[in-house]
Symmetry: C2
Subunit: 342 residues, 2 copies
DNA sequence: GTGAAAGCGCTAACAC
DNA sequence: GTGTTAGCGCTTTCAC
């Protein structure tokens, strides 16, 4: 127990026989140039020797920065988010930033409270995975000039950094895969259209209906109220009750797809024998289902990494233009899709 | 855009016509008694009206507290941890604390770096899910007096707060379940014994071998090198190669169990027809496998909540005795276990 | 019970 | 290029 982290900038200054402000200048890359090479070298060596490390609290209080980034996810238990968070965290730690994590539980009130708490703690930026297409929280951050990056979902018509999967491509590839297997009567089960993921996937499917040989009618296009298993079950039941024949369903999310499988089983229908199903996300263990799920793998970790990079860039280059990054998913073909039977 | 969070303690003091220090006293529950009721009421009202909220950075700089807790997990992508983190986060936010999350990627070097970063940021306490039975990081925290709570795993012979599953009970219940199904030749596939989870489950199985009608030999007890699918596959192959007959395996972890299932399939053995399998953790979708996995459900969220509560208690009541909380798992019987056949 | 003054550790504006 | 000075927002002695 020799060197408690008690050593501060004054101690270093005293040992190096310079003023604390010189130490400060040396230790900040942006001001190091103001100081003679000789002093810089000495101070760095001594700081190292003494095991000095700057107090982010104190420096933050002075500069208004906290070297802290808020990360808000709607539901950490959804396997979609942990790898994203992990990617974010990796890149942040490379920049000596840390992530404050909050889970909004898909609840706007929680989101408000979280945002307040983040602001009070002077986070230097925010990464939100909770955005809706119209989103007050996002608007508020933009107005107040808080650096912001959206992940997974984005908002409508706002100039904001975002990193998402190319949802349209994903849906297109799923539909094309089914077409290649000979399916023509293809239904669509989507998610909430107040999220960009729900809406973009929905619009993509509608475009496919116009542009391809898909024969099914709008009656077989249905958007569920949530991205979960219950909504998937309900949605599939809804489609089955239309009475219009279909041999495949493009489903906008794996959890929805799981619900679909439950519904099929309950109705005594086989997948893929009677109906082929595609999902979206490639959650863990989807390869171990019976049948294994054909789905779109999204580059979770990369989404997180890119988001953190964009945020760092935004913080360090104030005038920087916003970018909406769309990363390609990958179609993973498994047992839940098969050639159109009859 | 009227009230940016710019309003500080001075502003409130001015409007309330008192000195900033009085405002400080009012706003801190522990010093509120020093102030007249009248002033207290007025200050609180005005602070509320002005939308004042204390800057944790500034107050932290003064008091040495940061209202921040570090949470370190070995792998956020392992479905075990997100619900724990979520439980932690919930309770912390009730106490106006926030969680700084870090993922050590099962890597000691990362852990060191993370610990350093946490200390520099003056976290008021740490919740670690990464502990090994002998753990330098844990020792270090204890020596330096950093409030600490271990989750999921604990350490050997140190007086430290911890919240774990009652691993021994879990293994006992799994074994008893198999015994009731008529199995007598029961193998055990465990995990790394340098973790308390690996060791406690292993010891529990050894006790069961002595105390029950289990007939198999020590040759059928094997500990894998890691808690993952590959290790499970290797471990099962190892057991099968012993040449000693068994009709069931108690497996110490779901991921290991998945690997076991792969090995069985490769060898043309059926589960549960030829060999019954039990897991541990009840990860998401384990009910959807073929066969669905009989396993022990862990009270993840509760583990997280209790850990956060213990940490808050430790921070607020310095002399408090340490407690090692063990929560019961729940045996979930599914298709991977069946009556002993032959 | 309340105000005054000092200072947590650091940085930025200003001198020299 | 370096030292001086002031102060970020808050809490905590210490007076009165």
């Amino acid at each position: 127990m020799k060197k408690k982290s008690k050593v501060n900038i004054k101690d270093v200054a005293a040992r190096a026989k310079v003023h604390p402000s010189s130490v400060s200048r040396v230790l900040n890359p942006k001001t190091r140039g103001m100081v003679s090479e000789e002093v810089a070298a000495r101070v760095m060596r001594i700081a190292e020797e003494m095991g000095y490390s700057r107090s982010p609290l104190a420096s933050g209080l002075r500069t208004g920065k906290s070297y802290t980034v808020g990360v808000v996810v709607p539901d950490l238990v959804n396997p979609l988010f942990p790898p994203i968070v992990r990617g974010i965290e990796r890149v942040l730690s490379d920049h000596n930033y840390i992530a404050i994590l909050a889970d909004s539980d898909n609840n706007r009130l929680h989101e408000d409270a979280i945002l307040k708490s983040m602001k009070v703690r002077a986070v230097d930026g925010l990464i939100l995975a909770t955005a809706h297409r119209k989103d007050k929280i996002v608007d508020q951050c933009i107005e107040e000039g808080i650096p912001l990056v959206l992940v997974n979902r984005t908002v409508d018509g706002r100039d904001v950094d975002s990193v998402t999967t190319d949802d349209a491509k994903g849906i297109q590839w799923a539909a094309e895969h089914l077409l290649e297997l000979g399916h023509r009567n293809i239904a669509y089960l989507g998610g909430p259209t107040d999220t960009s993921t729900g809406n973009d996937r929905y619009q993509a499917f509608l475009r496919m209906m116009k542009a391809s040989e898909i024969k099914s009618s709008r009656a077989l296009v249905h958007n569920a109220k949530a991205f979960n298993e219950q909504a998937g079950y309900d949605g599939m039941m809804h489609l089955l009750e239309k009475g219009e024949a279909f041999s495949a369903v493009v489903v906008a999310n794996d959890l929805l797809a799981l619900g679909c499988l439950d519904a099929l089983q309950e109705r005594g229908l086989e997948c893929p024998g009677d109906i082929s199903i595609t999902g979206f996300n490639d959650m863990p263990f989807m390869d171990r289902l019976q049948p294994a799920l054909t789905t779109l793998r999204i580059p979770h970790t990369q989404i997180g990494r890119e988001a953190a990079r964009l945020l760092m860039a935004q913080i360090n280059e104030p005038g920087r233009a916003r970018v909406a990054l769309k990363l390609d998913p990958e179609l993973i073909v498994r047992g839940s899709t098969a050639a159109a039977g009859k």
